[in-house]
Structures are given as structure tokens and as C-alpha cells.
């Protein structure tokens, strides 16, 4: 049976054969560039291993985890393809730190782009090993043998056969995975490129206990943590506790403990509803802090926030370029803080048995979190185990790791299994946010419409992540940020044929708790570029699609954009049509290529959007009526998976672009539920038409977030086409649009 790690574990029989596959896994954070092998084999940890039971069923263990995008299914397809077994013959077990390895963090949409590469080679090597064993056993050359459904047989004499299970018995083998190994060609694919249904959907439809939220342990108790009253402001949460009045909860039924350590306050009860009540009732006095700058003036907040500038690109001479420009443009673009907004707030369960700590967690980095848990509790690393279970979609990082360490801390004290459930308001407040971003662009075109200057300053209010809350709250660790320079992702325009380009990146230590959110700085930088290039197109008197095509030379990008324009039936014209009436219609285009890694990064999937909108002038309401998305992600391991990911990205993008903005008061985040932070509903979903470019001979480029990157630019450009308004601050709420229309004055007919 698929999809449930618990069931998979029961299938791993004692005495099963084991293949341990080692390859030079990139060290965490170090990207594998296409065509180069990561240098420096950092460790000899096993990267993947397979056990083969007597029934010829294979269990594959991987450190990667399923976060709702279908990676588990896609990786199973890849392995089954190269192993020459049926899809149903493999169960993939994810994220168990006892059995699987650190494959780094599941993120950056690189599970398929980077890791599938290795998984395919590993599976191909395993197959080669088996075939060689059979060749020896039968006394024939390996070329004489074929494999189907995990059974090796002689082509000329099919009755000469042996299953993988028979060939390996209960032997244990360590196989280095070579850099080069023959793999299946696209023409041979049985599974790769096929819309194999996801293995993890049926268990959820039948209410099987697959979520971390479903973990129930004997003698388990319930806990709620009461955080310092500075939601989302990590820097102000320490040394804030003044007093806790335990007598205020003395009448709560089943109260086990009020746990206080440093600034960490939690209530623990027998029953869940009592924990919730106790958390609300407990009288806690904190030092007040109310010094957060006014985030309704987010532009000035960001400008005034200290940062360190670095120039990542300086081609030519900006001043000279601007001097020869016939038309100059200048614009400031603003992206707000956004929530990840997991529908299921985070949850974890921890227990200690005979000194061994087990935590059930939906973390996307089981290996790293295991180390944090060991450090927090003082329990030796080898006695700490993280059992990964699915969580609610996180699109980056939510409070999962916080809940995980909360549970570890509490179970150590209470001596019983502890379940920590973060509440909705707590998740909204404390989840590390998608960072705000300020981008200034100035540029110019000459009298021939050539872009002669393009000057960017990009200031991203994130990129550095602190770790989970508990170690800071108990005053064990000082708050420290590992600075990561994230603001330069897609900081440079993707177009060619520009002269005099400069990109300054300003890196900051964040004021608000942030982490990577789907699209990261690529999304907000691309918004700015795609809006600005659109303005230049208008200044040059050229249709915006035509203008982009003139400035693209990557054949894949050109093919992509052309295919999309055809599907969208793009209306070529160099200027917008003036409109009257209450419903104004427009179309907008945007192109982007998601990038990984430090500047200049290396490219991932290519995506382009055409957005069609209707703007209701009387209310300012914007409706995205249709989106055409074209995507080239190289080899699509599971085309249905790709389609669904693109749909999801489109809907999230419409939500974020039109509605979403985290709000603050002087003490921190005020967004607390779905009423004050509304997200898109079924009524907001546009018609979505996809153009998927099929390139099975190319490496796979991953698809988890690339489709969101061009989104906001296309919508903004469509709003311009409809109204003549250049909206530069996301979200494009009705009140902002209405105000802008009013400021624009009477529309010319």
C-alpha cells in the first residue's frame, strides 16, 4: 500500500536485501550546476537506499519529503523507470532520520531538478548491479539480459530468470553511484512523463491517519504555548516575561502543568479543549514593546531600514546611457509582507522512551531539525529521531519547526507524549513571513526604441532566517541570523540587447520574522522588471509582447513566448485602447525564468503569462478573468503533476497580487485570521489555459514555484491596459485601484 510511511515500515522485512547507494551529495545550500559535478565529496553518508523484500517489493528511503506537490509520486516514477519495475513495486519512505539521509531541505522546487538526477543514476546503478549478478549466475553476458517487473531474464531463453529478491537474498551491498551511467531514453519511457496518479491522495480521501496532526500516542497530553506579545518580531521576544500567575488557571480541569522557562510559557492539560482554555485564561505579564515603525508607510519603513549595498552588475556607463536617452522612466515598486498561510496550523508530537526522543514532525529538513532538537534538550544526537509525517502545505517555511521543538522541550519536562498544536492566530502572527521588497528602477530608451540605460536598486527585507523559537525563548541561544543574500534573485532583467545595466542589491538584517515563500525575491523582482519593461515598450511605441520578443535570444524562451501568444490570441497593438463604461478590460504579458543560487544563479523553468482582467471602475475591484500560462520545465516527470502545480501557483498568485498584505501595529503582526487576511476563494479563480512545452530530452527543471514568478507583472500590465493606471504596489485592492482612478481624473473617451 502506498502513501503511508507507517504501512511502508511494516513492509520492510527483516532479512530483506539492502542496497546502499552513495553519491557525492551537494552539501546543504550548495547548488548543483547543470553539467558539473559537485566538488569535494563532503561525507560518506549514504544518500539513498533500497531494501528488497522476498516478495520483490522495493522500499526506497529518501531524505526528501512530500509537501503536497507530488514529489513523492514523481520520484517513485523516476526510480521505477530506471529499475525496470512497476510503479506499484516501490514504496517510497520519506524523511525518517533513522533510515534516510540528509538530502538537505526540501525547497527551492529543486527536488526534481537537482535530486531526481541522483535518484535516477542511483536506480540505474542498482539495476546494473542486479543484471551483473544475474549475468554471473547464468554465465551469460549482461547484454543478453533484460529486466521487467524486477525480474531479470535472458532474452534468448526467457525461462532463465531470477527476481531482484532472488539475486540479492539478504545481502547488504554498498554501491557508489557513478557520475555517468546509461539511462533510459525518452522513447523508452514507461513511467516518466506519464500522468501517474499521486500515491498520497487516496489515504487523505479515506481519512487515513497520514498527517502529523493525526498522531495519537498512548498517554498523550495537549499543550499550548503562550508567546510574547510581539507577534512576528523575533528580535523583541526575549527577556520579556515579567510574571505568570498560575493560580489564574487553577480551576481548569485536567491541568497538568504551567511550564515556564525563560520567556517560554506553556500550559499542558489532559484534554485539548482545556489546553486552549488555559492558554486564554492564564494571566501572564510581559514587558511591553511598541516601537515598530508604521508599516502602512511601508516604502519609507523599508528605505529607512539599515542595509548593506553591493553592486552585482555594472555593465557600461549608466550616466552616459541616461544622457543619450530620449525618454526616461523612473519607478518604485513595492511588495508587501505575505503569509505562507497554511490552512492547517502547525503541529508536532514528541515522546521520550528509555531516553530516546522521537518527534513526529512535518518539517522539510528532518536532518537539521534533529540536530536542533538534540541541542535544545541535551539528548545525544543518536538518541533523537524525527519521524516525518505530512503537514499542511507550507510553500516555504511555517511554524512547523517551532511546534517540533516546543513538543521536544515539553515532553522532556512532562515525561509523557506531548502534542503541540499551534493556533490560527499564533500561526498567522509567528509564521516567518514572505518578505517585503522595494525595487527602484530608472532607465531610458533612445529615439530608435533601444534600451540605453537600466538602473536597478533592489532591497529585499528577508533572506536571513533565524531558527525555531524555543531555544531563544528559553534563553539558551542568542538570536543570530545566517545572512543570505536573497534579494538578487532575478534582480537583473532577463532581456538582452540592453546597454548600460546596473544592479545594486541592498541586503538587510530583517526586522520582521521572515523565511522563504514561494517565488522568493524572484517573484517581486520580476514584478518590477516586467512592469518597467512594459513602460519602456509603451514609450518606444511597440506592442509589449513584440518588445519582449525583440529582447530575448534564448531559443527556449522565444519558443515559449510565441506559443503562449498564439494560445492567448494576443491582440498586437502598440498602445492601449481607451475605454469608457464601468467595466474596463485589458490584457498584460510577463515573462520570467526562475533562478536558483547566488547571483547570477542558474536558470530553472521558463514561464510566461498572459493575464486578462476586468476592472470595475465604480468599486475598483479587479477580476482576473483568464490566464494563459506557458511553461517549459524540460522533462516533465508527471505532466498532471505539472499542470496542477501551475494551477496552484496561478491561484495563489491572484490571491497575493489582488488581496494579500500582512498588517502591523506598534507591537507586531495584527493579521490573525482569514477575516482580516482574506485569501482567494472559488469565486476568484480565473479560467486557466496552459501551454506545456514538452522537452523530454532536456533535464527536468522542477515546477513547484516557477509559474508564480511572472504573475504580478502580467496582472499589473493588464490593469494598465484596461485603465491606463500603472500600479506599482501590491496588493491591487479595490480601494487602491479606486483611489488611483480618482486621481487619474476623468477618462478620455
Amino acid at each position: 500500500m502506498h502513501g503511508s510511511n507507517m504501512i511502508a515500515r511494516r513492509q520492510v522485512l527483516k532479512g530483506a536485501g539492502v542496497l546502499m547507494l552513495s553519491f557525492a551529495a551537494p552539501a546543504f545550500g550548495q547548488e548543483a550546476k547543470k553539467g558539473t559535478w559537485p566538488s569535494g565529496f563532503a561525507n560518506s553518508e549514504v544518500d539513498s537506499y533500497l531494501t528488497i523484500g522476498a516478495d520483490n517489493h522495493i522500499t526506497a528511503f529518501t531524505g526528501r519529503v512530500e509537501i503536497g506537490t507530488g514529489v513523492q509520486t514523481a520520484m517513485t516514477q523516476i526510480m521505477a523507470e530506471e529499475l525496470d519495475v512497476d510503479f506499484e513495486q516501490i514504496t517510497m519512505v520519506m524523511g525518517d532520520t533513522d533510515r534516510a539521509l540528509r538530502q538537505g531541505r526540501t525547497s527551492a522546487s529543486d527536488s526534481i531538478q537537482v535530486w531526481s538526477h541522483f535518484q535516477r543514476r542511483a536506480a540505474a546503478e542498482a539495476r546494473r548491479f542486479m543484471v551483473n549478478r544475474a549475468a554471473e549466475k547464468f554465465g551469460v553476458p549482461a547484454s543478453e539480459l533484460k529486466v521487467e517487473k524486477g525480474i531479470v531474464f535472458s532474452k534468448s531463453n526467457p525461462s532463465k530468470k531470477a527476481s531482484y529478491a532472488e539475486l540479492i537474498g539478504s545481502g547488504k551491498f554498498e554501491l557508489p553511484v557513478p557520475k555517468e551511467i546509461p539511462m533510459k531514453k525518452p522513447s523508452e519511457f514507461r513511467l516518466i512523463g506519464k500522468p501517474v496518479p499521486r500515491v498520497d491522495i487516496p489515504p487523505k480521501v479515506f481519512a487515513e491517519p497520514v498527517f502529523v496532526h493525526d498522531i495519537r500516542r498512548p498517554n498523550m497530553v495537549h499543550a499550548r504555548v503562550i508567546r510574547p506579545p510581539v507577534p512576528g518580531i523575533e528580535r523583541q521576544m526575549m527577556s520579556t516575561l515579567v510574571s505568570v500567575d498560575e493560580s489564574s488557571v487553577k480551576d481548569i480541569p485536567g491541568l497538568i502543568k504551567v511550564f515556564v522557562k525563560g520567556d517560554f510559557v506553556a500550559v499542558v492539560t489532559e484534554r485539548e479543549e482545556n489546553a486552549i482554555c488555559a492558554a486564554r485564561t492564564l494571566k501572564v505579564v510581559w514587558k511591553e514593546w511598541s516601537d515598530l515603525p508604521d508599516h502602512t508607510q511601508i516604502e519609507s519603513v523599508i528605505r529607512q531600514h539599515p542595509g548593506k549595498a553591493r553592486t552585482v552588475r555594472n555593465d557600461g556607463d549608466i550616466a552616459a546611457g541616461m544622457a543619450k536617452a530620449k525618454t526616461k522612466e523612473e519607478a518604485t515598486y513595492l511588495w508587501p509582507y505575505h503569509l505562507h498561510g497554511s490552512i492547517g496550523p502547525s503541529c508536532a508530537v514528541a515522546e521520550i522512551v528509555d531516553g530516546n526522543l522521537t518527534i513526529w514532525s512535518a518539517t522539510r529538513d528532518p536532518g537539521a531539525l534533529r540536530t536542533e532538537a538534540a541541542n535544545l534538550t541535551g539528548i545525544p544526537l543518536e538518541q533523537v529521531r524525527i519521524l516525518w509525517r505530512e503537514g499542511s502545505g507550507a510553500y516555504g517555511r511555517n511554524c512547523t519547526d517551532d511546534a517540533t521543538l516546543d513538543a521536544a522541550l515539553l515532553t522532556q519536562d512532562i515525561g509523557r507524549p506531548v502534542r503541540v498544536q499551534i493556533m490560527r492566530e499564533e500561526e498567522h502572527g509567528w509564521e516567518p513571513k514572505g518578505a517585503a521588497h522595494l525595487i527602484d528602477i530608472s532607465g531610458g530608451i533612445d529615439d530608435k526604441g533601444k534600451i540605453v540605460a537600466y538602473d536597478v536598486t533592489t532591497k529585499f527585507m528577508g533572506g536571513a532566517e533565524g531558527t525555531s523559537l524555543a531555544p531563544y525563548l528559553i534563553r539558551q541561544k542568542k538570536l543570530e541570523f545566517a545572512a543570505r543574500r536573497m534579494g538578487d534573485r532575478n534582480g537583473s532583467p532577463l532581456y538582452v540587447g540592453l546597454e548600460n545595466i546596473r544592479v545594486n542589491c541592498v541586503d538587510v538584517d530583517p526586522a520582521i520574522r521572515t523565511s522563504l515563500l514561494r517565488g522568493v525575491a524572484s517573484l517581486s523582482n520580476s514584478f518590477a522588471h516586467e512592469c518597467f519593461v512594459d513602460e519602456l515598450a509603451v514609450a518606444a511605441g511597440v506592442d509589449p509582447a513584440e518588445f519582449r520578443l525583440r529582447h530575448l535570444d534564448d531559443p527556449r524562451a522565444v519558443a515559449l513566448v510565441k506559443a503562449m501568444l498564439e494560445k492567448a490570441n494576443w491582440d498586437y497593438r502598440p498602445a492601449r485602447k481607451q475605454q469608457t463604461g464601468n467595466i474596463l478590460k485589458g490584457r498584460g504579458i510577463s515573462y520570467a525564468r526562475y533562478t536558483h543560487g547566488d547571483y547570477p544563479g542558474h536558470g530553472a523553468a521558463y514561464t510566461a503569462w498572459v493575464a486578462e482582467v476586468e476592472v470595475e471602475a465604480s468599486t475598483g475591484a479587479v477580476r482576473v478573468t483568464r490566464v494563459v500560462v506557458a511553461q517549459d520545465c524540460g522533462l516533465m516527470v508527471n505532466p498532471t503533476g505539472c499542470e496542477h502545480q501551475i494551477h496552484g501557483n496561478v491561484i495563489q498568485a491572484v490571491s497575493r497580487t489582488l488581496r494579500e498584505e500582512v498588517t502591523f501595529d506598534k507591537s507586531g503582526v495584527t493579521s490573525s485570521d482569514w477575516a482580516n487576511y482574506p485569501i482567494a476563494t472559488f469565486l476568484d479563480v480565473p479560467k486557466i489555459d496552459l501551454v506545456l512545452i514538452d522537452r523530454p530530452e532536456e533535464p527536468p527543471l522542477g515546477v513547484g514555484e516557477s509559474a508564480i514568478v511572472p504573475s504580478a507583472g502580467a496582472i499589473a500590465n493588464a490593469i494598465y491596459d484596461a485603465t491606463g493606471l500603472r500600479l506599482r504596489r501590491v496588493p491591487f485592492t479595490p480601494s487602491r485601484v479606486k483611489l488611483a482612478l480618482a486621481e487619474q481624473g476623468p477618462r478620455n473617451g
Binding site: R198, E272, E273, I276, I343, P345, I651, T681, L683
Partner: protein, 156 residues
Amino acid sequence: MAIENIALKVNGKAHTVKVEPDTPLLYILRNDLEQNGPKYGCGLGQCGACTVIMNGQSARSCVVTASMAKGAEITTLDGLGTREKPHPVQKAFIEEQAAQCGYCLNGMVMETTAFLSRNPNPTEADIRNALARNLCRCGAHVEIVKAVKRAATARG
């Protein structure tokens, strides 16, 4: 608040639970009765992740109290169908792959089940309106609408 005996029927089986009468039904279902279907999403009735069918109508179990559920007949996702005998709505959701992370799935399936029993022949607009207060952050809406249409057709 004094503990009371609350009698209710869940998926055809009678239960009596000893709880304070203002205990949200969600926690009784998940903790006392070990149901996996209804989920905690907000505790405020805003997202629909906790949806069950109560006395034939959809209900958000996070804002239904034990005393409101006294004597009620409740169906949860756990009791809707099995792998061997799936409910047509469950079957449709699997066929259309109508989930990404799957956390909102319970609410979508249960609300759809209740909706189709009221309106067996919905238009697409009817479907969107019926599910407008069920939140999905992953963006599985397109597949979910297809699943509801498919289920409606299957029910005949």
C-alpha cells in the same frame, strides 16, 4: 463548567462522551472518537477544514458545541466510504486528483456531499458558490470543481 454526558451518533454508531457542554465537537470527534477526517484549521468557522454532516446538513465542527450536538447524527469523512466501497464524491476526488497538500480535502468532500444532496444538478457557478467559504491555499480549485461535476454526473 460541569461535565455532562453527551450522547451522539457518529457514522451510525452511538457514543456517549463525558465533556463540558461547550467543548467544540471537533475535539470530541478527533480525540474521544479518533476521527481523522475533520481537521483543525482555524477554530473560528472561517475555513471549513472541520466540516462534518450533522443531521443531514454540513456543519463546521469547530464552532458546534457538545450541547448543540446532543442527540445528533453525524457523518465524518471517516464514515463516508471505504477503499472497497468509496462514496461517489470520494471516488470523483481521487479520479480528478483534486488535492495538493490535502488538508482542506475533508471540508471540500463533506461540503460537496451535503451540497449535492441538496442540488444534484449544479451548474459550475452553483458549485463555486457552494464552496466559496471553503478555503484552499494550495490552489486545487480547478481540480475540485471538476471533481464535484464528476460526482454529480456519477450520482446520476
